[in-house]
């Protein structure tokens, strides 16, 4: 952000930013890379264990409940709602970044607030889902569900489910905290004084990453 490079000039001759992004933003990208490998390791370990098992519980059977409608079976509906909430909060986050580029403090605050609401809604949904599964007898080390072919299932299923969605949920939680700090700093006018809203963009990268991970978690646990 700090420097632009005139046409035809060499990128790496010094005195300018060869990637044309601010240092902190670049480092956020590399942090997210490493975080992607952490999640990748979790998910691939899950995949590897699944490949080593002869059968696995059917997600359509396990994840078929929805709050307030009792025992009615609606496979995957609730988790789709969660996906929608997270995608939506990603959109409001991009809007906050856009408003920041336009130096519109009020609009940044509005969009950040909506993003935080989305994050909290997602966490609420996850809390409900965990509570419900726990009430059905599922937890680390306990698996009440049987395999899709009617054989005895192992605890691998619940162990991986709670570990990985828990790790993701913890990322969402930290994202909400970060976004709240950004909202407070915006409100105090810190970024306005600085002259740019790059911190919002960095927080935004993190928030989108959380959404990105959810896309993979959604596929691995609920669809495959």
């Amino acid at each position: 952000m700090a420097h632009t490079v005139p046409v035809g000039q060499k990128w790496w001759s010094g005195g300018k930013s060869p990637f044309n992004v601010e240092y902190g933003k670049l480092m956020m990208w590399y942090f997210l890379m490493s975080d992607a490998f952490t999640f990748g390791a979790f998910l691939i370990s899950y995949g590897s264990i699944r490949f080593s098992s002869s059968s696995w519980p059917n997600p359509n059977e396990v994840f078929r409940t929805f709050p307030f409608i009792g025992e009615m079976s609606v496979p995957l509906a609730f988790v789709s709602l969660m996906t929608f909430i997270l995608i939506m909060s990603s959109v409001t986050m991009v809007m906050a970044v856009g408003a920041g580029q336009a130096q519109d403090r009020k609009a940044v605050m509005k969009w950040m607030f909506l993003t935080i609401l989305g994050g909290l809604a997602f966490l609420g949904c996850q809390a409900w889902e965990w509570t419900h599964l726990h009430a059905e007898g599922a937890w680390w080390g306990r698996n009440p569900f049987m395999n899709i072919d009617g054989t005895q299932s192992t605890t691998n299923f619940t162990n991986y489910f709670f570990t990985i969605t828990g790790f993701h949920g913890f990322h969402v939680f930290s994202g909400v905290i970060i976004n709240t700090i950004m909202l407070i700093k915006t409100w105090r006018g810190d970024f306005e004084r600085k002259g740019h809203y790059l911190m919002i963009e960095k927080a935004g990268l993190y928030w989108h990453f959380v959404d990105l991970v959810w896309v993979f978690v959604f596929t691995c646990f609920y669809l495959l």
């Binding site: 952000m1 632009t4 490079v5 005139p6 046409v7 990128w11 060869p18 990637f19 044309n20 992004v21 670049l26 990208w29 890379m33 490998f37 990748g40 691939i44 370990s45 995949g47 590897s48 264990i49 490949f51 080593s52 098992s53 002869s54 059917n58 359509n60 496979p75 995957l76 789709s80 929608f84 995608i87 990603s90 959109v91 991009v94 809007m95 856009g98 580029q101 336009a102 059905e136 007898g137 698996n143 009440p144 569900f145 049987m146 054989t151 005895q152 192992t154 605890t155 691998n156 935004g204 990268l205 989108h208 990105l212 896309v215 993979f216 959604f218 596929t219 609920y222 669809l223 495959l224």
Partner: protein
């Protein structure tokens, strides 16, 4: 990613004109893909109209498409300088090896267990009663 973005002019920059329309378009694409995935997942659950492993391929392709749109548009990487894109994209290629190696290992382990582990083999053939899952009783997975 194209060359137009690589050479910024020397003007006091607004690095990328913020494009609200593109964001909403991305949102609709993501939503449509998710709903489509959901639809075929449910249709499959009801009818088993299709071999599951082919369906999994479809799910994985659509997941990668969603990931691409989130990274390129929401995270704006599609509009950064090519060198920056490459420092992210090339290390990410390790996932290809990572995934192949470990799922391969998993299925090899499965074959070995089915061949040499009598207990595992029998477990994989024995149907269990559908339990009204209420704690106690049996502790699944305890071997």
């Amino acid at each position: 990613m194209d060359s137009a973005n690589m050479t910024t002019t020397g003007l006091p920059q607004e690095k990328s004109e913020f494009n609200t329309k593109a964001i909403w378009r991305t949102f609709w694409i993501l939503l449509a893909i998710t709903l489509f995935e959901l639809l075929i997942a449910i249709i499959y659950y009801e009818t088993h109209f299709f071999p599951k492993h082919l369906l999994n391929g479809v799910f994985i392709i659509m997941t990668l498409a969603k990931a691409f749109f989130i990274i390129a548009e929401f995270m704006h990487l599609g509009h950064e300088i090519r060198n920056l894109v490459m420092t992210i994209a090339i290390p990410a290629l390790l996932f290809v090896w990572f995934l192949i190696a470990f799922t391969w290992d998993g299925s090899s382990y499965h074959n070995l267990r089915m061949r040499y582990d009598r207990y595992q083999f029998e477990q994989s053939k024995t149907k269990v009663q559908k339990t009204e899952h209420k704690e106690e009783g049996k502790k699944p997975g305890v071997e």
